[in-house]
Symmetry: C2
Subunit: 120 residues, 2 copies
């Protein structure tokens, strides 16, 4: 993912309400949730929510579709994964200290780094 798109995504996620929206939508997967259901769950006004949803959608983190009189929003898992991948791989150069903090298995089988763990 290009850095300019990562920046848009980070800006979009760097807001209380918007990060909550993402957290709410991820577990709902592709089914997503209607705008009204999101507004009720998060506790924001309809117009305020609409503003934040459009920011997230513009950043490519959400998709939307119409269903009857509702608009259903869903998290775009590829985009979210792309942002995380950028932070891990491009921004942080897959630094072992950083990878270690993510709780992911760090793939070190094919390289001979000297282990310099940062947590003593």
């Amino acid at each position: 993912m290009e850095q300019s798109r990562v920046l848009k995504s980070l800006s979009a996620m760097a807001h209380d309400t918007r990060l909550e929206i993402v957290r709410l939508l991820v577990p709902h997967g592709k089914d997503g949730l209607a705008a009204g259901a999101i507004a009720e769950a998060i506790g924001v006004s309809a117009s305020g929510l609409s503003f934040h949803l459009s920011q997230l959608e513009a950043a490519g983190l959400l998709t939307s579709r119409k269903a009857s009189r509702h608009v259903i929003y869903a998290a775009d898992c590829k985009a979210l994964g792309g942002v995380i991948a950028y932070l891990l791989n491009d921004c942080c150069a897959r630094d072992p200290d950083i990878c270690a903090c993510t709780g992911q298995d760090v793939d070190m089988g094919h390289q001979d780094r000297q282990a310099h763990a940062s947590q003593p």
Copy 2:
């Protein structure tokens, strides 16, 4: 890591110059770089850089120490890892589609999900 700190970190990283600073500093590890060296590498004015460095430090993403008349800044790998870990684990609930995009080995040994890869 608490969400409020993650939000500060995301806000800090959601800026062109500041993301560049992080990218520059990570490979330098704990040795870090002097503010002047960063300014030259990134191409920003001293006062502008100072502003951005203080934002990153306030978010906890950088550490600073004085060395003679220089101030050395270094990336805080634990903090960076913490942000990524939050996105992966708390925000995205370790969603397999999202993990798959990160290029990390996804730990699926102890669960029986049907593999539904999102890249066709």
